[in-house]
């Protein structure tokens, strides 16, 4: 199949599912191609690199775009010495941090980039060392580790009465670590700058040489709250690489797990959003519902958060009590509707939610805001709707969308998605096809590449991988939508006051672990 982007005509090769297209282009044409995608209304959703020197090549830069044609996975081969590619931040702002991380991990430079500060590297390894290169060895620990202080040059705001509030990475509550540098006058925020990477665990390095089945367990734990989404994306990539056809019932069950996970997370967020405006009633009620929901999951499938129920080749749990799940979904719909009425009519809550932390649609497009937060700012992307992979192609998902871009919009989108997911759960339960739930993995024989992309509760979760001829993983890149959504938080807080930050932050509820890797 062929596709045109501006004056660039491409021959696309389908890869893993009907809507992922893959092609290779030289790095000199990368900017023109990205610009063509941008002009057409597309977005960059992931950027990563790989060290292909052991395959007799150099390095490679991978970019993944969302366009009207589907997901386009473009791959640019780069030379082995001084690998560089043209900077994309002028076209897609969200490329900035991904490019910096790519340099920290692989030493691939973005030529012409304005911001070349380190991103994922704190002081754990030396500037000249790049952990994702195949010749990097973590054993023994690199001698330079710890000798350098983590001096990160924050951008200063100067002026009369401006001062800085450093927050984190250790917080008063039990939450993930991240550093937030506020420049304020009084309580009004002039600038917020994030510093992430505190939970960098070397997940991508850990994948190297891992068995395919064990890889699923690690992939699912990249960000625990999106376990089903990561597991599915990983399995989709493995199955694409192996050319494995998964039984239909397994696909339907995977969708069921993904929607259960979405409902659980949205319920939790709606509760904590109430708690953040000191409406503990909402917190207690939503978390009661979430707890009952998790217990139901544990009863039906053997794990509260459905850990390791999605495995390469199918699923590891089957559904026998369809009536129980159907009834629970119906009951939950009623209860959430009742609580929504309370939130809707509570003047104090509405006053705190409305007009707080606004990201206008035009700004959201510029930033590449995606997923749930994107849909609250008019960014109409939902993989389940536009590029439905089975079984979503038979489910007709309704997209939740809001134009306002404030905390209230993100709350409304969550409510709408809870109702939609509960409807989907009931529909899946009723239409669940019969048959086996698992297909045996074929014996590996050659190098294979694959990409999986699933609409998790936060947004599109991507896992791209390459396996060696020995059937072990060679390079795995998991991508969380938090990468492109974190910068939007810096924009959303502008003009707001410091005490509203936790509420705005919670309304995005982005992953630290999924971002820091």
């Amino acid at each position: 199949m062929k596709a045109r982007f501006g004056d660039i005509e491409l021959k696309l090769t389908p890869q893993g599912g009907s809507s992922v297209w893959r092609f290779s282009l030289e790095s000199a044409r990368l900017r023109a191609f990205a610009q063509a995608i941008r002009d057409e209304g597309g977005q960059l959703i992931a950027l990563w690199g790989s060290d292909d020197r052991h395959l007799g090549q150099g390095f490679a830069l991978h970019t993944l775009y969302l366009s009207s044609q589907g997901l386009i996975w473009a791959h640019c081969p780069l030379p082995a010495d001084d690998p560089a590619y043209p900077d994309l931040t002028g076209i897609f702002l969200q490329a900035d941090r991904m490019q910096r991380a790519c340099y920290d991990l692989l030493g691939i430079r973005a030529e012409g980039a304005v911001d070349t500060r380190k991103w994922l590297r704190h002081a754990a390894w030396h500037e000249k060392e790049h952990p994702l290169r195949k010749d990097f060895s973590a054993c023994p620990p690199c001698p330079s580790a710890g000798t350098e202080l983590d001096a990160y040059p924050f951008i200063r705001v100067a002026g009369d009465g401006v001062h800085e509030i450093p927050v984190g990475p250790i917080h008063a509550g039990v939450i993930e670590p991240g550093h937030f540098r506020f420049s304020v006058i009084g309580d009004k925020v002039l600038k917020l700058e994030e510093r992430l990477g505190y939970t960098h665990k070397g997940i991508e390095k850990r994948f190297e040489g891992m068995d395919l089945l064990v890889g699923q367990r690690l992939a699912g734990r990249v960000s625990g709250d999106s376990h089903a989404a990561y597991s599915w994306a990983y399995c989709m990539a493995v199955e694409a690489a192996l050319g494995l056809v998964v039984p239909e019932r397994a696909l339907w069950l995977r969708a069921l797990f993904l929607e259960i996970e979405r409902v659980a997370n949205h319920l939790g967020d709606l509760g904590t959003l109430g708690n953040d405006v000191a409406l503990s009633f909402g917190f207690a009620q939503f978390w009661r519902l979430k707890e009952e929901w998790l217990r139901l999951a544990a009863r039906l499938f053997g794990h509260r958060y459905l850990f390791d129920r999605i495995v390469p080749g199918g699923v590891a749990a089957d559904l026998s009590h369809t009536a129980a799940l159907d009834a629970a979904a119906a009951r939950l719909t009623d209860e959430v509707r009742e609580l929504k009425a309370i939130y809707d009519e509570h003047a104090g809550v509405q006053d705190r939610f409305a007009h707080t932390g606004q990201v206008a649609p035009a700004m959201a497009t510029r930033l590449g805001l995606i997923g749930l937060a994107g849909r609250a700012s008019s960014q109409a992307w939902d993989l389940r709707v536009q590029f439905p992979h089975p079984p979503y192609d038979q489910l007709a998902v309704n997209m939740a969308i809001d134009r306002r871009g404030d905390v209230l919009a993100r709350v409304e989108v969550r409510f709408a998605e809870v109702f939609e997911s509960l409807r989907l759960i009931q529909e899946i339960v009723r239409r669940l096809p019969t048959g086996p739930v698992h297909a045996p993995l074929p014996a590996p024989g050659q190098v294979g590449e694959g990409l999986g992309c699933v609409e998790g509760w936060r947004g599109p979760i991507v896992v791209a991988l390459r396996m060696g001829a020995d059937g072990r993983l060679d390079r795995v890149h998991p991508h969380d939508p938090s990468w492109q959504n974190w910068p939007a938080l810096e924009v959303g807080i502008l003009g707001n006051i410091v005490p509203d930050f936790p509420l705005i932050n919670k309304s995005f509820n982005l992953s630290y672990s999924g971002h820091d890797l």
Binding site: I165, A172, A278, A284, L503
Partner: protein, 314 residues
């Protein structure tokens, strides 16, 4: 005189004992209203015991002021609790301070709290101190207006005279006190860092007012501050009772009605705690910059109370 001193000591000890219980009771009511299972009534005591048994951690930059402040704040609150008549009227300590001095006593504790918060130089300490002062400078005038309204009725700013006039002389309905009561409730929520002005249970450091100032305290220092917080809530509660529901407080020298006075106090505190929990459950915390409007309204209501007194209660 001896009996008076004994009663004074007894009332102060009662305040020290009941204050954590009041906090425990409010927490129980909040849990019930939210459909959670409740913590034990004695939980605040358990927490105090735990804190007193720990070793204190001090910032390297902490000056002696930082260590001294908790004792000062605690002493201020004990004195305040001793002055307000809760069981019996006209105790030996009462003439020591009238309502204006009481406001000053609260202010003194607050100044030490804010200074200690800024002393160690963390961002949150100064942030909390700044917000606390914003709230305080608006709350104090409103509180004074409430007291003036009550003083106008009894022609005295001494609490024993106010209680004597309202509780033990011929019963009368004062419309001015209705305005003052609402204003008093609004000021109390702000002064005691309760919803809708502040959230005592939050862990989000950026939203805190009172909690931000005490983030660096630990062990016995924190225990004293927590106890002082409980005492402040208790003192405001008995103050509200003395001004607006004084019936039951024993008259000066009337020792036979003491058991009745104690029972009345406990019942009123139980009801007041439940009402506080209810208001905290149905309200959300307001945006910080709405607090001035909230306290401005309290001030306005206090002034309205005074005007009503001149118009309707000649």
């Amino acid at each position: 005189m001896t009996a008076g001193i004994v009663l004074q000591v007894a009332q102060t000890l009662l305040a020290l004992l009941l204050a954590p219980l009041l906090i425990g009771w409010v927490n129980i009511c909040r849990a019930w209203l939210q459909g959670r299972s409740a913590p034990p009534l004695l939980q605040p005591y358990y927490s105090l015991r735990k804190l007193f048994h720990k070793d204190a951690t001090l910032a390297h930059e902490a000056s002696p002021l930082f260590r001294f402040a908790p004792y000062m704040i605690f002493a201020c609150m004990v004195l305040a609790a001793a002055i307000v008549p809760s069981l019996v009227n006209d105790l030996p300590f009462s003439p020591a301070a009238d309502v204006i001095a009481l406001v000053g006593l609260f202010a003194l504790a607050r100044v030490f709290q804010a200074l200690a918060a800024m002393d160690i130089g963390t961002a949150f300490g100064s942030l909390g101190a700044r917000r606390e002062m914003l709230i305080a400078f608006l709350a104090e005038p409103a509180l004074l207006m409430v007291f003036f309204t009550a003083s106008l009725i009894s022609q005295s700013t001494e609490l024993p005279h106010i209680v004597e006039r309202l509780a033990h002389q011929e019963f009368a309905i004062y419309p001015s006190l209705a305005f003052a009561a609402v204003a008093f409730w609004m000021v109390s929520t702000a002064e005691n860092a309760r919803v809708p002005v502040d959230n005592p249970t939050t862990h989000l450091e950026l939203t805190m007012i009172h909690e931000a100032m005490i983030l660096e305290y630990s062990a016995r220092h924190l225990a004293l501050i927590e106890w002082a917080v409980a005492l402040k809530l208790y003192t405001y509660s008995v103050l509200g009772i003395a001004l607006f529901l004084p019936w039951g407080i024993a008259a000066a020298g009337d020792y036979t009605s003491l058991p009745l006075a104690l029972a009345a106090l406990v019942v009123k505190l139980l009801l007041g705690g439940a009402a506080l929990a209810l208001l905290e459950t149905i309200n959300a915390k307001m945006r910080l910059f709405r607090a001035p409007e909230f306290l401005g309204t309290a001030f306005l209501l206090g002034v309205l109370g005074m005007l009503t007194h001149f118009l309707l209660e000649p």
